[in-house]
């Protein structure tokens, strides 16, 4: 699809030739993730997380389908079907559930690394704006799916999480409360809400899979980016996806799954909240209602608005929280710097790491109990978040002088071993070695 030197598919055995002439599916796969997709040769390990996200989506769908066979979507049966039937009586049900529970966390973890990779290396810039935006659509769908999945065991946090999150809509004047009741099918989360959450929780992963296909399709038009951000110039700059990146993704996936397995088998409840092992009780509010960890930064932004300034504080919080994700759709046009890779952008790089620290701070605040100190930290963190994307980034991209870029990818791989490959200046050499540090 992307480059003239991409190897065309040549079926070796007659069956594949027969199939290829009628339905060129093997050809599509070969061109997408086989030997027919030339990939920059200098990718570092941050480029492994897209494939990992795909692996976790698959794990979630497979474990989820089997769990759904044993789950009862009723307010009286849900908690016991999870904690008695699945955890005790179904063969290896405990494994399916813990794999699914922690699989969600790891899916978000790899997705966050994938997103921050994109932020640092400018993966959202032309010609990959649609890849970025489709990725954000996937992320929004993941958030909806993750939230509804957390409601299904019908524990205390499930119930009160559903109460709080659907309560966002009631912040909007006039239309808010009717919308909330329409979404829940009642005044509070109950049977109607649980049944529809289950239905949507089963549906959305397949929608995600569909958008993933679009995401990969859009990626394959310009081809993968790379740590230097320099465009591929000729065949020397690329290697075929298979076997080079299948091998690299393969071993790294095994190593990352080891990490996932250690958590799943030896600390399966570490990332969860103990309150979700208490059955849902609409009459007893938990002391601290917190969502799953992957929502904490946004929860912190929501809770940071504590003053009714023109609009009610709750409405400010909800608007800011939604906008904190929506603004990412504008990123390709906010950051106008022609240099993609943060490695060659000395000012951008510093602010990028400040953003990473800021999001981690917001995550900490979102999961911590409310007190004056945490709220103040959250307010500073949230203000920086908006200033970073909406004020600092446009200014940096306008005024920054980027370091010199290497002339080509294959030159940057040499990192100064040969005289003819020496980058144009001292700074670029430093940048080049950072870019290929993986």
């Amino acid at each position: 699809m992307s480059f003239s030197w991409a190897k065309p598919y040549e079926p070796k055995n007659p069956l594949m030739r027969w199939l290829d002439e009628r339905l060129p599916l093997p050809r599509v796969v070969y061109g997408a993730i086989g030997g027919g997709y030339p990939v920059p040769r200098n990718l570092n390990y941050f480029w492994n997380f897209g494939v990992l996200a795909g692996i976790f989506l698959t794990i979630q769908i497979l474990t989820g389908i089997v769990l759904a066979m044993h789950y009862y979507a009723t307010v009286d049966g849900a908690f016991d079907s999870v904690n008695k039937l699945i955890m005790r009586d179904v063969n290896a049900g405990w494994l399916l559930r813990y794999a699914h529970m922690n699989g969600a966390s790891f899916f978000f973890l790899v997705t966050y690394i994938h997103i921050f990779r994109g932020l640092y290396y400018g993966s959202y810039k032309a010609p990959r704006e649609l890849v970025w935006m489709l990725g954000l659509v996937i992320y929004l769908l993941m958030m909806a799916t993750g939230f509804m999945g957390y409601v299904l065991p019908w524990g205390q946090m499930s119930y009160w999480g559903a109460q709080v999150i659907t309560g966002f809509f009631s912040a909007f004047p006039l239309v808010g409360e009717p919308i909330r009741q329409w979404l829940l099918g009642g005044y509070a989360p109950d049977q109607a809400a649980l049944t529809r959450f289950f239905s949507l929780h089963y549906l959305l992963p397949f929608v995600i899979a569909g958008v993933v296909i679009l995401h990969i399709w859009a990626l394959h038009i310009p081809g993968s980016g790379n740590p230097t951000g320099v465009d591929v110039k000729d065949e020397k700059d690329t290697v075929p996806f298979h076997p080079f990146y299948t091998a690299k993704d393969g071993w790294f996936a095994a190593a990352f799954l080891l990490f996932y397995a250690l958590v799943t088998y030896f600390a399966p409840n570490y990332l969860g909240h103990p309150d979700n092992y208490i059955p849902a009780n609409p009459l007893a509010t938990p002391a601290h209602i917190v969502p799953e960890w992957y929502f904490w930064p946004f929860y912190a932004i929501l809770r940071s608005f504590t003053v009714d300034f023109v609009l009610p504080a709750k409405l400010w919080g909800v608007l800011a929280m939604f906008f904190s994700i929506l603004l990412l759709f504008f990123l390709p046009w906010i950051d106008k710097s022609p240099v993609r890779s943060g490695s060659y952008r000395p000012v951008f790089k510093r602010f990028f790491w400040l953003l990473v620290i800021d999001v981690i701070l917001l995550g900490y605040v979102g999961g911590a109990p409310i007190n004056a100190r945490n709220v103040a930290l959250g307010q500073i963190g949230a203000a920086y978040y908006f200033l970073h994307f909406l004020v600092i980034l446009p200014l940096v991209s306008a005024f920054e002088t980027p370091d010199p870029l290497p002339n080509s990818i294959s030159e940057s791989v040499l990192h100064g071993e040969k005289a003819e490959a020496a980058p144009a200046g001292r700074k670029a050499r430093r940048g080049g070695s950072v870019a290929t540090a993986g």
């Binding site: 091998a247 393969g250 799943t264 092992y277 004056a372 500073i380």
Partner: protein, 309 residues
Amino acid sequence: MRIILGFIGGVFAVVLLISLFSNLATYFRAPPAELAQSVFHREPKEVHFSSDGPFGKFDKQQLQRGLQVYTEVCSACHSLKLVAFRDLKGLGYNEAQIKNYAGSGQYWKTEVPSINPDTGEPSTRKALPSDNFPSPYANETAARAANNNALPPDLSLITKAREGGGAYVYSLLTGFQPQPAELLKRFPDAKTPPNLHYNPYFANLNLAMPPPLTTEGQVTYADGTKPTVDQMAKDVAAFLVWTAEPNLESRHAAGIAVAVFLLFASILGYLAYQDIWYGSKRAVRVTGPLEPKNQARTRRAKAKQGVAG
């Protein structure tokens, strides 16, 4: 567009700063009063169970003693709804023993709600191994009526439903004590109300449950272990770790197998990756011994030394 977005960002930042100042102003004008529970609440005691750690296994003797404490003490008020009698084979009992435990009336006393086959009236029958542990009260109302309006929680998942797990249960059971004089001096309003009991391991310090384990020898252990209050508390806590996570041993065993497998897969995968990329790196970096230039150099050096090949 960037100007509009920058304006929106600025508005959010300004509102956040106003919130920050008002938050700080409130804090310094009227610092929040300290609460007794934030000063006197204690984290669970350090206690070790054989099921701890990645290689942890249950001590079946201890679980059996814990079951005995649950049966003779806790089960008077607390249900164990998610556990079936047949699950007790995980404690090392055989089928006959389980049947005897559930249905002989000698050990387990509470009967299972049933219907009289002749009249259709509600009645009860002896428990079978296939039954779940029957609850001490017919419903929540009955449970509250019998306990000053407090509801004894179901214990099946209690060690997963509380921060600290087994250590929390152990600490709570051994943590009952008179209210410290210092607490009353600093917080005169925080005196433990009547019908509640002071316990620093409980989140709000005052617990409706009276101390359940009070005297040594409250139960008589069949295996001869000395039934001190500490021992009974530890045993029943270990038992409740088991009820919450009966598959812990298979989980640990499977986890070790999976970890070893993935470790080997990673190593083999890494070697394969190195092998596949070796040639490709050589194509860019003129360093490999098989590079034609280097091979020619080797040949020349060998010829010079008079070595054949």
